[in-house]
Subunit: 330 residues, 2 copies
């Protein structure tokens, strides 16, 4: 039921595979309830799996810092619960019918229940973090959740705008995606006696990896077919979201090309425009390769942030995680 | 902009009016943001006002216990934020277009933003509670939020069922409404050195008052016109929700009468049935008066829970609050 996806993550997962199994067990326990609906939705969600990238990173960092307790399993579960809660509420936001190749909760159970399941996940995450009792980590998680929610609101505010600036784009990426990666990677620094500066370095590693992850995600929306990704290609633009490739291409584009992009973004529909036309525009201005190059720069920054940390198999795995994120194809 | 509604609450509000003003100020501060949408929605919500019943009760209890600091203002704000978050997400759940006599956020800004504003309110509440730093109160708030969310899910699961039992009904009322009243009233016990048993007595007071509040709310759906309540009468049944009057009437009803009720609950629509027909059924079996009597019993239990607490003007105000809840007409 909780089979790991063969995502290439096996190259850095072995080190933390036993603890990742415990995370799955904790996730299953989260959905055990006397309320039938919670069990049903939980089973559906767990079958859907997921990369469990944030938990894996948190566990690797904990291992690198020599942490030997079980709190890392709890916090790995907590960050995955928060991440899942945002996905669930995002299904309402995006009117997405497909998520991770399966029907979304929203599509199957309706908006009503979807909202509540997201609320349940957030609350369970907070409840679990309260059990662990560290106010410092609670504050970190709470401030990251706030940044994420504000980022989503900002994203909605700017939806449909074809004149999104690079700064605006990176602000949204930072809030919506990178902040939780940063928190996931820095949490273990609070579990051990660690030198000053390590928690910041680890946050930087996670944050930059998170930006890189999102840039690749945005690229995959251009380069992947629907079968591999489990969602329609060019779906971002269709949802009114401008991402890096188009933001880079638009200043160079002709007026006619700009009009095509503006129309799709504003209409939330391709209408007479066909996705290959948009793809042709970003390719014409080399925006896909340029985006990939920027993603590589963020990966390099993440790698640099690791430099002052103790060398070990887990640090090597964290370095490998960057290659994994850069080269993933789904 | 934040004019108090003339709700009758003025009889017990003077004691806490200055601190309630500080709560309004804190609520306003919650919506101050560099993100335009958050300011706009915040202004809309604050204009809408609200009874601020949970904050008023929390502040009265704090006064009764001799608390002289400012933490009660923070926690009063926090419980109102949690309450408002559930209302906001409930607007999605109920597809309610009207709330508190104004258009709901959902109606004006769509489901997408409504979900995020609710998330923002929950997160701000938690963030604020973390600033105050009491793990005990955080745990109380978290467990109550969990109970509320589960109660909402349970309510959705049982939506449309005309065979809801009294136990099932009271379980939902306890979770969805009464638990937060209980928490609001017991929080001040954690702010002072209070004898063992007081926090439980105060929770009992708040919980029973909360049940009473909900029963009267359910009754008002039968007895109020749309103008006074600011929402359509008999809207609960139309939304598939059976409440106490019908649960009491149904076992005595004829098969023809049962069919009428079942049809409206299952269809989420009155269709050929007219609201007066349903009203006639509950009146025929004296279910409105019986419901009011049960509400009075809960008020009496709440009053009894106050007995061991120090007599003072604020305790008298808490007793008066019970009359206010029983006799309110909107």
């Amino acid at each position: 039921m909780t089979e790991r996806p063969s995502s290439g993550a096996e190259h850095f997962l072995p080190l933390v595979a036993p603890k990742l199994e415990l995370v799955e067990e904790e996730l299953r326990r989260t959905f055990r309830s006397s309320i039938r609906t919670i069990n049903e939705v939980g089973a559906h969600m767990l079958e859907g799996g997921g990369k469990r990238l944030r938990p894996a990173l948190l566990l690797l960092v904990a291992d690198m810092l020599g942490y030997r307790g079980q709190k890392d399993v709890s916090y790995a579960t907590i960050v995955e619960l928060i991440h899942t809660a945002t996905l669930v509420h995002d299904d309402i936001i995006d009117e997405a019918a497909i998520r991770r190749g399966r029907t979304s909760i929203n599509y199957r159970w309706g908006n009503h229940l979807t909202v509540l399941i997201g609320d349940l996940l957030y609350t369970k995450a907070m409840d679990r973090a309260l059990e662990e009792g560290s106010l410092e980590i609670l504050q970190l998680l709470s401030s990251v959740t706030l940044r994420m929610t504000e980022g989503e609101i900002l994203g909605l505010e700017q939806n449909g705008r074809a004149d999104l600036s690079l700064d605006e784009y990176f602000e949204i990426v930072g809030r919506k995606t990178a902040a939780l990666f940063g928190a996931s990677c820095s949490i273990p620094a609070y579990l051990v006696e660690s030198p000053e500066g390590w928690s910041k370095a680890l946050f930087d590693y996670g944050f930059n990896l998170g930006v890189c992850f999102q840039l690749i995600d945005d690229l995959l929306d251009y380069t992947s077919s629907s079968e591999v990704l489990g969602k329609p290609a060019l779906s971002d633009l269709k949802e009114g979201k401008l991402t890096l490739p188009l933001i880079l291409a638009l200043p160079k584009a002709s007026e006619a090309e700009k009009t095509i992009i503006q129309r799709v973004a504003a209409d939330h529909s391709f209408g007479k425009t066909k996705p290959p036309e948009v793809l042709a525009i970003v390719e014409k201005y080399d925006a896909l390769e340029q985006s990939r190059e920027i993603a590589r720069e963020y990966a390099a920054r993440a790698g640099a942030a690791l430099m002052g940390l103790p060398d070990s198999p887990s640090r090597q795995a964290l370095e490998f995680a960057l290659d994994f994120v850069i080269s993933r194809n789904h």
